[in-house]
């Protein structure tokens, strides 16, 4: 049996920096966590395996942020949404490459991984991903 990487946020982002969206799957009950958890909320097992999640989904809800935090101010106004991935998983992110009035709930989006190199182990420096129309 191959050694599994730790089911941590840091490892989740290490996978993101490799262009992979990975979740932690409970080996006992099958529940998938994105991001991973050290323990399963459903069955309390601590036995997990990493599984790759298809980086695409449907837009569930969105907002256009006009008043932005300092580090995002140059982008404002920008759109943020939550997408529905496979297996009932969801993630939030910024939506790019689409005019704001063309954004519609239910539209297909794909996850794009930013290529900026960061040292994931140096908190808080995580690679970013965003969504764009599929």
């Amino acid at each position: 049996m191959s050694e599994e990487k730790p089911f941590t946020i840091e490892q989740f982002y290490k996978y993101i920096s490799q262009g992979k969206l990975m979740g932690g799957k409970c080996k006992k009950c099958g529940t998938i966590y994105l991001p991973p958890r050290p323990v399963c909320t459903k069955c309390h097992s601590k036995d997990f395996e990493w599984i790759e999640i298809q980086p695409k989904g449907k837009l569930l809800t969105y907002t256009i942020i006009h008043v932005a935090p300092v580090q995002f101010q140059s982008m404002a106004p920008y759109a943020v949404g939550i997408i529905q991935l496979e297996n009932g998983l969801k993630i939030p992110g910024i939506i790019k490459n689409v005019e704001h009035d063309k954004i519609k709930i239910g539209m297909e989006l794909k996850v794009v991984f930013e290529k900026t190199p960061v040292n994931v182990s140096q908190w808080p420096q995580w690679p970013r991903y965003y969504f764009k129309p599929a």
Partner: protein
Amino acid sequence: MKGKPLVSIISAGLSKFGKLEGLYGREIFAEAVKEAFDRCPNLNPKDIQALFVGHMGESYEHQGHTGATLADWTGLLHIPATRTETACASSGAALRIGIFSILSGLYDVVMVGGVEKMTNRTTPEVTEFLAMASDFPFEQWHGITFPGLYALMATAHMHKYGTTEEQLAMVAVKNHHNGFLNPKAHMQKEVTLEKALSSRVIAWPLKLYDCSLITDGASCLVLTKPELAKKYTDTPVQIIGTGQASDSIGIYERESFTSLIAAKLAAKQAYQMADVTPKDIDVAEVHDCFTIAEIIAYEDLGFCKPGEGGRLIENGETTLEGSLPVNTSGGLKAKGHPVGATGTAQAYEIYLQLTGQAEKRQVENAEIGLTHNVGGSGATAAVHIFRRE
């Protein structure tokens, strides 16, 4: 426990809410404590055996260790003084712990309360501090602001139920009207629907008038065993139900974006303990950190069916003259939202209502009241039910 009083409130205090220049958090809390003692001449500071206080952020005043700080500045040394933190529900949690401390049998009289000093900071700083109540590595890191989280709920609610931006603005109009009647409110002015709707966008569909205020303020309550209450006052208010629950820190993992599970669970616990139903509630203070939050609160608390919150406000049911007045104080929207103080400030308004001291905002014959206090984007909720004795 069903329907039995858990504790009695024998006094309560609230500082002025607003931009309180020249006053630090501990001094603002002292103002609330002074009122609580002034209201209840039979109560001696030496009667208070423990202090539990809600406070969200040490960043504002570079001051943590809030429990002892507040005891020190309010003449309550050397009682045990403990801070609770559940984001914007911090003093809702303090109230609960105060109730437990009385029920444990260890104490006869305790003070609970909360404080936040916020206006000494710039808006971008406050925005950043408030965002700490949401998930950092998956929400804040990806550009999602605190108003942005509630905007995601608003968009989902509008899409699923046809709730309108006008209905959101009606919550602001109502709460500003109530705040106009509350001499302690931060914003004591009316706002028109047109003005609310045309205010600048913060996080679409939420505009400036959909958001609560950055406010300084403090609140406190004095609790005792129900059988001791009449020793202190002729008009105690009983707490007959308490509930609290948690949910995922990130909203994106939740099954629904149009309801807060933690609030529903907390309400269920409180209703069952109090042995009352939503129909029995005469007046409620709910957590309107954003207008959509009040509409969702109506639904989560069972004041209407899921999806009908927009119509409830549109039909005027929750105005002062309506069948179930909500946020008679002006709510977080107009009274203000000094986050750590909010939970017990809501209880303060219910205390006034149930003792007939709410003046121009008085709901006639109010007998049973409810408070609904939410932490962050709903990862914590605390609900309490009160009864006039």
